[in-house]
Symmetry: C2
Subunit: 258 residues, 2 copies
């Protein structure tokens, strides 16, 4: 399949790379950020354009990986009648690109994509389309780049996007706060990596609520107070510590021992 990538951020870069790795040909990168466009085009070994109007008209698939706020402008400026066009957004309706093409839909990666990361992670793809025959075409294409492809309507996709924000963005923020705390307290954050991996791994086999441990779920007020004294000057950590502790003290019906 000949593919045009519209966008040049993390999603465009990682999905572009995965599409190319799957044996498709990226024929153009289109991005209004010239520097990013040229970087990605070099990586994908293809030409690039800086104006949406210069998009090639003859590709088999157009992958639109733009900020959610750019969809309105794209729909006004670009028309690709008859062409298969998919966007990659979790919270944008499947109808958003109908002014670009009547054959439009969604291929949403349920993964946190950062252009620095290699090898590419496993990326479940949630697909949708405005016409049934296009859903089949998008599904077939998605299957060439991922083992996990599922149809999901707008609401289901938005719900999974929300859950993804919780388990990725929020979790990563906890990692970042802990990393910052360790750096400032001169302790070695890397000692926590086995714990972080174990926490993520074991929920493939056990429900996370059953795996909870720690002072809050044990009702261990002495330890909680010692922790609170340590973080008095860390405003963000303190705010989260108090809320998590409160929720954990009340949240699980059965308190695990130890």
């Amino acid at each position: 399949m000949q593919v045009v990538i519209i966008g040049s951020g993390n999603t465009a870069t990682v999905l572009g790379g995965m599409i190319r790795q799957a044996g498709h040909e990226i024929v153009q990168v289109v991005s209004r950020t010239a520097e990013h466009a040229s970087r990605l085009a070099a990586e994908l070994q293809c030409p690039y354009a800086e104006h949406w109007a210069d998009t090639r008209r003859d590709a088999g698939l157009y992958l639109v990986a733009l900020a959610d706020t750019a969809f309105g402008a794209l729909g006004q400026e670009l028309s690709l009648p008859g062409r298969l066009v998919v966007h990659t957004a979790g919270a944008v309706a499947k109808t958003a690109l109908l002014t670009v093409s009547e054959h439009s839909g969604v291929m949403y990666p349920l993964q946190s994509l950062r252009k620095e990361v290699r090898p590419y992670p496993e990326v479940p793809l949630l697909v949708d389309a405005n016409r049934e025959e296009d859903l089949l075409r998008i599904t077939d294409f998605a299957r060439t780049i991922s083992r996990q492809v599922q149809p999901a309507d707008d609401v289901t996709r938005l719900k999974l996007h929300l859950a993804a924000v919780m388990v990725n963005n929020f979790t990563n923020h906890l990692y970042a706060l802990a990393d910052d705390f360790c750096r400032r307290e001169k302790i070695d954050f890397s000692l926590l990596l086995p714990l972080i991996r174990e926490t993520a791994e074991r929920i493939s086999y056990f429900p996370p609520a059953d795996m909870q441990t720690g002072p809050a779920v044990r009702g261990d007020q002495v330890t909680i107070r010692m922790h609170q004294q340590l973080i008095d000057k860390y405003k963000d950590i303190k705010e989260l510590y108090d809320i998590f502790t409160h929720q954990l003290e009340h949240g699980y019906p059965q308190k695990p021992n130890n």
Copy 2:
């Protein structure tokens, strides 16, 4: 080494199993919870006692894995003069067992230990002692069951314990809330597992702050408002969503694109 395990919860069970697997002999389990004591003794193939006073006096090492609140009582009821005794608590002073034995110290597992989980995870051990020669003996023993053994004083251990609570207890609570949300909304939580694994894996190679993605760090208010509408009836999620979003909007000096 002949080892007595005092306690029968998650820490006693997992460390007891790891110690036995390393080739040491568990000669007794002592726990005031008879049912748990007999279960763990069966697992470790050794006798058990229900009263601290019935603890054998002739073992080479005593591993005290009790709730933090039980240390005071143990110190009054059990005396093991001349014996090497270690506790496993993150937030209990190294002096806590001096009334049990002058040769006492700490072997703290920086890991979330649940008795259900096999194989045993990688468990960094933080060691400390009241006498220098005991620190060497505890370190030598710890090295037989873990590749990562480091000395850490009371304050360092408490700080790492706090960081562990953040990256494990709080993260696992986010997983549990997302799991509950998916269950109630009839969507498939297991679709999120590749994302959860990737989030945990990549911070071995990149600082977590540099890996942040998502609507909050992008300043995508439209998506944030759509999420907030979805969680109106999920009180705990809503409370955390608003605080994380606020912190992420202000927390990172450089906002990653896309």
